[in-house]
């Protein structure tokens, strides 16, 4: 009388619960980000080539397809950032004596605040 071995995971195991789906979306943000990084390199190279290529680049950036892709990439980047900051306090919990600092405090101090500062700094450096 042998026990029945466990069922191996199905191909679509992650569709079974919302939590699994959200996990896969979190991991999938990397595909969008990787694509964007390559695009960013092309963009930087263009800036280096002079005002003319930069001008035509701006025209490309105004196209609907560029805007749609940017919206998708932005959503992915935001989802990555928010999930990342929310998980940080559990990876690096902060203890003060017997008490553990609330996760929200750590997430804000180590994630959201620096995020705001960096974002403002980038905006200021480029536009200011």
């Amino acid at each position: 009388m042998r026990p029945r071995p466990p069922e191996p995971p199905t191909r679509t195991w992650f569709m079974r619960t919302t939590a699994y789906r959200l996990f896969m979306i979190r991991e999938f943000t990397s595909v969008f980000l990787a694509g964007y990084l390559i695009f960013l390199l092309v963009l930087l190279a263009r800036v280096g080539e002079g005002p003319q290529p930069f001008e035509s680049l701006l025209v490309t950036l105004r196209s609907p397809i560029s805007i749609i892709l940017h919206v998708l990439v932005l959503l992915a980047a935001l989802y990555h950032a928010v999930t990342w900051f929310n998980l940080t306090p559990r990876i690096m919990p902060v203890r003060l004596g017997e008490e553990r600092l609330p996760d929200a405090v750590v997430a804000i101090a180590a994630g959201y605040l620096p995020w705001i500062v960096v974002s403002l700094a980038i905006g200021w450096a480029v536009l200011g």
Partner: protein, 267 residues
């Protein structure tokens, strides 16, 4: 006067009971008979619905009144022993703490804990799990040959707070059932065992960290984990084993760099 009052009270009680008895809830229960072999089947049972019943009550009702052959584990009925874990509508749950009223009137599908071999019906085999727990040396390791007669090892509340959360585990294995990586890699040491390792690693009285950290640094220990986080979501004791694994990854990474930068350092 009082007699008629009593009669009235009795009728209300009776009709209440009658009404309660009308209400039933359906359980579709996974059945597997190892002697017969073959594929498991799902058997439907209509169980009286009581708002204060948990799934385990319904299973016990079935076993007592309709089908004595239904096999499942339970003991404490209060979320302490960790033996009544099953899949309820696809999610791992302690059936003694899962109320029928949260599902009524929909039917419930009861299956043995996912990712484990099934011995019979709802009973799974946990030998592998126990081996994994043992493999991380879950005891205080001392280098100094202390004798219990030397007196207790003292600890401040602050030192206790470092690991207390990880002592709350009741070995219910729900976390393993929730873990997709464990489903892929049965050799993965898994959430509860790594939380247990951290429980000792963070204990000020323990001196076995170096040993245990080597155990955690192998591929099948912390590195199969991708922080899905569902182990922690289903844990009835808020152990947060996923956090234990990530923290072990951090120490493991520090160890890796130490070995890499100072290969002559002590092993």
């Amino acid at each position: 006067m009082s007699a008629s009052n009593g009669a009235a009270a009795q009728t209300t009680e009776e009709s209440l009971e009658a009404r309660m008895a009308d209400k039933t809830i359906t359980l579709e229960v996974f059945r597997y008979d190892p002697a017969a072999g073959g594929d498991p089947t799902f058997q439907r049972y209509d169980v009286p619905y009581r708002s204060d019943w948990v799934v385990l009550d319904a299973l016990n009702w079935i076993k007592d009144t309709t089908d004595g052959s239904l096999t499942f584990r339970w003991s404490c009925r209060m979320g302490v022993c960790g033996s009544c874990g099953m899949m309820v509508n696809g999610l791992p749950k302690l059936t003694c703490s899962t109320f029928l009223k949260d599902y009524y009137p929909d039917p419930l599908r009861i299956e043995p804990l996912a990712n484990f071999p099934v011995q019979r019906d709802l009973v799974i085999e946990f030998d592998g799990f126990v081996e994994k727990l043992k493999s991380i040396k879950p005891w205080l390791i001392r280098n100094d040959q202390r004798d219990p007669a030397d007196g207790e090892l003292r600890q401040t509340p602050k030192q206790l707070a470092q690991y207390k959360q990880y002592t709350m585990c009741i070995n219910c294995m729900l976390c393993y059932s929730a873990c997709p990586e464990y489903a892929f890699i049965p050799g993965f040491i898994g959430p509860a065992a790594i939380a247990l390792a951290q429980r000792y690693n963070l204990d000020s009285r323990d001196q076995g960290q170096a040993e245990r950290r080597k155990l955690l640094g192998v591929q099948e220990a912390v590195w199969e984990c991708t922080f899905v986080g569902e182990c922690s979501a289903v844990c009835p004791k808020h152990v947060d084993p996923a956090a234990a694994i990530q923290q072990a990854k951090v120490t493991s990474t520090i160890d890796w760099y130490k070995r890499f930068l100072m290969p002559w350092g002590k092993k």
